[in-house]
């Protein structure tokens, strides 16, 4: 397939859909508010997209192995609480707690695999556990983010705003690791064909534990970024991340089964969802409709993808 024919192929359109939807919403924002088209404007628009993008990548690791994490929102909240309390007052204890969280996630992966449990139920249960820990740690909103995190997230590099650099780096690093290394092929293989991986002599248990641990790592990054941006935390700070992160993965072209995921798409998806919310406020539509608009964007993109898939089926 060369030249123009490639651009007419369903494969191209499916891959381009996440980027196109982001461009579309971004153009809408620029049209309504030309001043957003500046260093400062872009910084403001995409600041909060970074923790969501990190949470989306976290969710993507779980979706890659055909599972679903319904606890990521409460986990990110807990991390934010740890960040605003222990990590600030007694850094060693904070770091130990975060490492403990990664271990718990790895154990969950093992438990889900060994007992062949439905991940939805296990993670729903865990969402209570994370929330409970967060409430115990920080019964009322408060705490303060450690200075080094705050410096890091508010760093202003020349020319290109930090959120864009962070998003690009995140997308490229994860893309390279998952899509371009043999290790990444194995990881996605667990979602694609578990039996083939087992027969080839790999331990699906270890792979699944790694994927869950990676979910925790990116969940922690999301929580710390969020607390850095928000400067304080509360136990419910990121609850809506659970559904947003799933929506982001799907928006970015990820599929629910078969290990078909796209890290770049996931980051773009998360950015689109964040931007949709701002787009609405530029339109002066009540923020009541924010999640509704996010749902609508999700449905529209899925509809477009269905059209592309039908195009493909007709060939």
């Amino acid at each position: 397939m060369t030249g123009l024919r490639f651009f007419a192929s369903p494969r191209f359109w499916r891959g381009a859909l996440p980027a196109l939807s982001l461009t579309f919403v971004l153009l809408g924002v620029f049209w309504l508010q030309p001043r957003a088209m500046s260093y400062f404007g872009l910084n403001l628009l995409f600041n909060l997209a970074i923790p969501i993008a990190l949470a989306t990548i976290a969710q993507m690791f779980v979706i890659a192995v055909n599972d679903l994490d319904l606890s990521i929102g409460s986990f990110v909240s807990l991390v934010a609480c740890i960040g605003a309390t222990w990590l600030q007052e007694t850094p060693l204890l904070g770091i130990a707690a975060l490492l403990g969280c990664i271990a718990v996630y790895a154990c969950l992966g093992a438990l889900i695999y060994i007992r062949q449990l439905p991940s939805i139920v296990v993670t729903l249960g865990m969402s209570f556990v994370w929330s409970g820990c967060a409430v115990l740690l920080l019964p009322t909103p408060g705490g303060s983010a450690p200075d080094w995190i705050r410096t890091l997230v508010t760093y202003k590099p020349p020319y290109v705003p930090m959120p864009l650099i962070a998003a690009a780096a995140l997308a490229l690093i994860v893309h390279f690791a998952l899509m371009r290394t043999s290790w990444g092929v194995l990881m996605r293989g667990v979602g694609g064909n578990e039996k083939a991986i087992t027969r080839a002599g790999w331990s699906v248990l270890k792979l699944k534990m790694t994927m869950y641990a990676l979910t925790a790592v990116f969940g922690i990054l999301a929580g710390l970024t969020l607390v850095g941006l928000a400067t304080s935390a509360d136990a419910n700070i990121a609850l809506r991340y659970t559904l947003l992160s799933i929506a982001g993965v799907i928006l970015g072209g990820g599929e629910f089964v078969g290990g078909r995921i796209s890290p770049i798409g996931a980051v773009l998806g998360a950015m689109t969802l964040t931007l949709t919310a701002s787009f609405l406020s530029f339109l002066r539509i009540s923020p009541d409709w924010q999640i509704g608009a996010q749902g609508a964007v999700l449905i529209i993109v899925l509809a477009l993808r269905a059209v592309v898939n039908r195009m493909e089926a007709r060939r």
Binding site: G125, V135, F256, I291, I299
Partner: protein
């Protein structure tokens, strides 16, 4: 093996009742006196709502892997908001309000099914996307509006006969009807067949698409009706009233011994599990556990129950 053991092995739902009874007994022993009976009565009251949404969710889950209705919480909220607005606190409008709520449920069901069918996406994504829209509509409609439920509705939702809540009796009747529907009607058997092997069911002439449509509608209507009673029970609608029902609706199905992989469900378990979930929280409350600790223990027990009950029989 004792006869009781054999019975429990054959009827996975009996575990949830045993668990509910043990939790109740532990709490009743702790508070002593007549508190135990009052507790049982309260448990019946609160579990009604879990049972209503749980049965709808159970039918959806029976359809097989990937079938979960995530729009239940938002449907509860929207239906509560709409019905309270239609009723406007007047007894004469109760029936109209109910019809409005059912209409909300039917619309949500149709919408969910439409997304699944037209976009050919997994149901979990479809119901999640629609829940965004439904929740938004509920927020936009219900913000700043606080309408008290009509007195009669409030009475129906809270009245008790000899300590037994009237609503609870209705829900027991509903559960019996639904058990018959699941096990003894063409529709119910089709749902089970759908979940066991969709391809085989289609080849055997089960109208797959109609069954799926009916099931998602059933779930949405149950959530909608639950929303009305919940508003009546708690003195009006609130925008986060549906929140806890996401976990609860799935948890009661799984704890009740239905297979999360679909194709093998039972109604009584939903009832037992709903009682258990409420009594568990009540027990932790009585023992003076802090809010955080209560959440942690609830979560751990749910994970524990799923681990203990085991997962999919075999992957197809």
């Amino acid at each position: 093996m004792t006869p009781i053991g054999a019975f429990m092995r054959q009827h996975p739902w009996s575990w949830s009742f045993l668990a509910a009874f043990l939790t109740w007994a532990a709490t009743a022993a702790y508070i002593s006196g007549t508190g135990g009976l009052a507790l049982a009565s309260t448990a019946l009251s609160f579990s009604t709502f879990f049972v209503m949404v749980g049965i709808g969710q159970m039918f959806v889950i029976t359809l097989g892997p990937g079938n979960v209705d995530l729009s239940i919480p938002s449907t509860i909220t929207l239906s509560a908001v709409v019905s309270m607005m239609v009723m406007g606190g007047s007894d004469a409008m109760i029936l109209t309000g109910f019809l409005a709520a059912i209409a909300v449920g039917l619309l949500v069901g149709l919408f969910n099914y439409g997304l699944i069918r037209v976009l050919s996406i997994p149901p979990i994504i479809a119901t999640m996307s629609s829940s965004f829209l439904i929740q938004s509509s509920a927020i936009a409609l219900g913000r700043g509006v606080k309408i008290k439920p009509p007195e009669t509705l409030e009475w129906i939702s809270t009245a008790k006969v000899a300590g037994v809540p009237i609503l609870s009796l209705c829900v027991i009747a509903l559960a019996v009807v639904m058990a018959v529907v699941l096990n003894r009607t063409v529709y119910g058997r089709s749902v089970t067949a759908f979940g066991q092997n969709t391809r085989a069911a289609r080849l055997a002439g089960v109208p797959i698409e109609r069954i799926r449509y009916l099931t998602y509608s059933l779930s949405a209507v149950m959530a909608a009706v639950c929303g009305v009673f919940l508003a009546g029970f708690s003195g009006g609608s609130s925008l986060n009233m549906g929140e806890e029902y996401l976990l609860a609706s799935i948890a009661v199905v799984v704890i009740g011994g239905s297979s999360i992989a679909g194709g093998n469900s039972n109604v009584p378990g939903v009832f037992g599990a709903a009682l258990f979930l409420f009594l568990l929280v009540a027990m932790l409350n009585t023992f003076g556990a802090a809010a955080g600790l209560r959440l942690i223990l609830t979560g751990l027990i749910i994970v524990g129950v799923v681990t203990f009950a085991g997962g999919r029989r075999e992957s197809r």
